[in-house]
C-alpha cells in the first residue's frame, strides 16, 4: 500500500536511522567551535562559518557535498558547488585581495627591517614540518601542517588544498583557533625569552611615509616576490593588487568592495565549505590530534623565532629595538601586534609599541606567503 511505502521512504531517508556515533561526536565538535566563536570570540568570521559547515556535513544523508551523479541531469549538493572555489584555489586569493585593501603597510615601509622579523617568525613552519615528517606524515602533509605556524588562514587553506586536501578541515580549524589564542600562547614565551630591560625599550617614532612610497611598495613587492617565487603569485599578486587599490586613491569604490561585499561573500562560502569537508570518517583520526598538537608547536616556534631575532636586532641596534616586536612577526594581524603592545606596556607603562609591531606583523603575512610558495615549489 502507498501509505506504508511512503512511511518507509520517509524513514529510510531520515537521519535518525543513519546517524553514527562518529557523526554525533563531530556535531559535538561543531557545538564547541560555535561556542568558542560566539562566546569566546575566537576569530568568529571564519570559525563560526566553519563550525556550521562541520554541523551540516555530519547530519547524515543531507548530501550537501555530493558530487552530481555521473551521467545524470540531477544536480549535486549545494556545498559541492560552493566548494569549487576552494578546490580551485580561488577563494583564498580573493580574501587576500580584501586583506590587501585593508592593510596599511606604512609602518613596514617606514622601518623595513621589520621584514627580518617577519622572516624569522616563519621558524615554526619548518620546525613543525620536520616533526610532522618524523611522525610519519608524507612531505606534502608535513608541509601543510607546518604552514599552520604561518598564522595566516588563507595561506594555510591555499597550500593545503594543493598539497594535502584530506587534511584541510583539521588544518583550517587549528590555524584559526590558534590565531585566536595568540594572546594566551605568546605572553609566557615573551616573558621567558626577554629580560625586563629589553621589554622596557621605547622605540623611536616612525618616519612619515609618502604617498609615492605607498603606491610603489605593492608594485615592487609583486615584481620581486613573484620573480623569485612564481608559485606565490596568486597570493602575493592579489594581496598587493588590493593594497594598490587602497593606496592609489583613485579606485576608492573597488577598494571598498574588495574590503566588504567581495571578501564577506567569499568568507561565507569558504568557511562553510571548508567546515563541510570535516566528515566524521576522515576527521576523527589520530592524525587530527597530531595536527592540533603540531599546530601549537608551530605557533610556539614561530613566536620564539621572531623573539630571538628581535633580540639579535636589539643587540645590533645598540638597544634601540624592543625585542617584543619580534613575536608580532607571526602575522595574525593585528592580534600579535596588540600582544606586543600590551607586554611592552606591562614592562613600562609609557611604552607604545603598537605601530612598531605593525611592521613585523604585516611582514609576517608576506613571509608566510613566501614560505607557502617555497613549499609549493618543492612539493606541488
Amino acid at each position: 500500500m502507498m501509505f506504508v511505502d511512503a512511511l518507509q521512504t520517509i524513514w529510510r531517508n531520515s537521519g535518525f536511522s543513519a546517524i553514527t556515533w562518529q557523526q554525533c561526536v563531530m556535531i559535538g565538535i561543531a557545538f564547541v567551535l560555535i561556542y568558542l566563536a560566539i562566546v569566546k570570540k575566537f576569530e568568529p568570521l571564519l570559525l563560526l562559518t566553519i563550525a556550521f559547515g562541520v554541523l551540516l556535513a555530519n547530519l547524515p544523508l543531507a548530501g550537501l557535498m555530493n558530487e552530481p551523479p555521473a551521467g545524470s541531469d540531477e544536480p549535486g549538493g549545494l556545498l559541492y558547488y560552493l566548494y569549487l572555489g576552494v578546490k580551485k584555489g580561488i577563494y583564498p586569493s580573493l580574501i587576500f585581495l580584501g586583506i590587501g585593501a585593508m592593510t596599511d603597510f606604512g609602518p613596514l615601509i617606514a622601518r623595513p627591517s621589520g621584514l627580518f622579523l617577519g622572516a624569522a617568525a616563519q621558524l615554526g613552519i619548518f620546525s613543525a614540518f620536520l616533526i610532522a615528517l618524523a611522525l610519519g606524515f608524507t612531505p606534502q602533509e608535513a608541509a601543510s601542517i607546518g604552514i599552520i605556524g604561518g598564522a595566516d588562514g588563507p595561506t594555510a587553506i591555499f597550500l593545503t588544498t594543493r598539497l594535502a586536501p584530506e587534511l584541510l578541515p583539521a588544518i583550517a580549524i587549528a590555524a584559526y583557533s590558534y590565531m585566536a589564542l595568540i594572546p594566551m600562547i605568546q605572553p609566557p614565551l615573551m616573558r621567558l625569552l626577554t629580560t625586563k630591560k629589553e621589554r622596557e625599550v621605547k622605540m623611536e617614532q616612525l618616519r612619515e611615509v609618502t604617498k609615492l612610497e605607498r603606491i610603489c611598495f605593492p608594485i615592487a613587492v609583486t615584481v620581486f616576490c613573484i620573480l623569485l617565487l612564481p608559485s606565490v603569485a596568486p597570493l602575493i599578486g592579489m594581496l598587493m593588487l588590493g593594497n594598490l587599490f587602497r593606496e592609489s586613491g583613485v579606485v576608492e569604490r573597488l577598494s571598498e568592495t574588495a574590503q566588504n561585499a567581495l571578501i564577506n561573500i567569499v568568507t561565507i562560502f569558504l568557511g562553510v565549505t571548508v567546515g563541510a569537508t570535516a566528515r566524521a570518517d576522515r576527521f576523527l583520526s589520530p592524525d587530527t590530534l597530531k595536527i592540533i598538537a603540531l599546530g601549537l608547536i608551530a605557533f610556539a616556534f614561530s613566536t620564539v623565532g621572531g623573539l630571538l631575532f628581535g633580540k639579535i636586532m636589539y643587540w645590533l641596534s645598540g638597544g634601540k629595538i624592543n625585542p617584543l616586536i619580534g613575536s608580532a612577526g607571526v602575522s595574525a594581524v593585528p592580534m600579535a601586534a596588540r600582544v606586543s603592545q600590551i607586554e611592552g606596556q606591562k614592562a613600562n607603562p609609557s611604552n607604545y609599541l603598537l605601530m612598531h609591531a605593525m611592521g613585523p606583523n604585516v611582514a609576517g603575512v608576506i613571509g608566510s606567503a613566501v614560505a607557502a610558495g617555497i613549499l609549493l615549489a618543492l612539493f606541488g
Binding site: 623595513p112 609618502t210 609615492l212 586613491g249 617555497i374 618543492l378
Partner: protein, 120 residues
Amino acid sequence: MSISMLDGLLIAVFSMTVVFSVLCILYLVITALSKTLNKVGMASASNAVKQADKQTEVTAPAPAAAATDKDINTVSISTGELKLINVDEKTAALIMAIVSHESQIPLSELCFKSIRALEE
C-alpha cells in the same frame, strides 16, 4: 614520495634560508626604493602625486586640482543635488544641522548647493 629525516632537515634549513633571502632582498629593494623616491620626490614628482591624495583625508590641505569633475560626480550620485567637494558625508550632515540651527531656518527650507573644504 617519501624523504629521509636528514633530507627533511636539509629542506627545512634550506627553505628557511630562502624565506630569509627573499625578505632580505625585499628589504634591500624597499630601502633603495624609498631612498630613490624620496630624493626624486623632493624635486619634481611631489606635486603630481599630491593630486592622488585620498579624498578621505579631510584635514589635509586640499589643492583645488584634486577636486576634479570625476570626484564631484562620484559623490553626487549618493547625495542627490548636493555637491560635496573634499568633504565626507558625515561632516556635511553635521554642517547642515548646525547651519540650520544657528540660522533658525528649518532644514526643509534650506537649500545647500555644495560644501567645499577650505584650502589652507
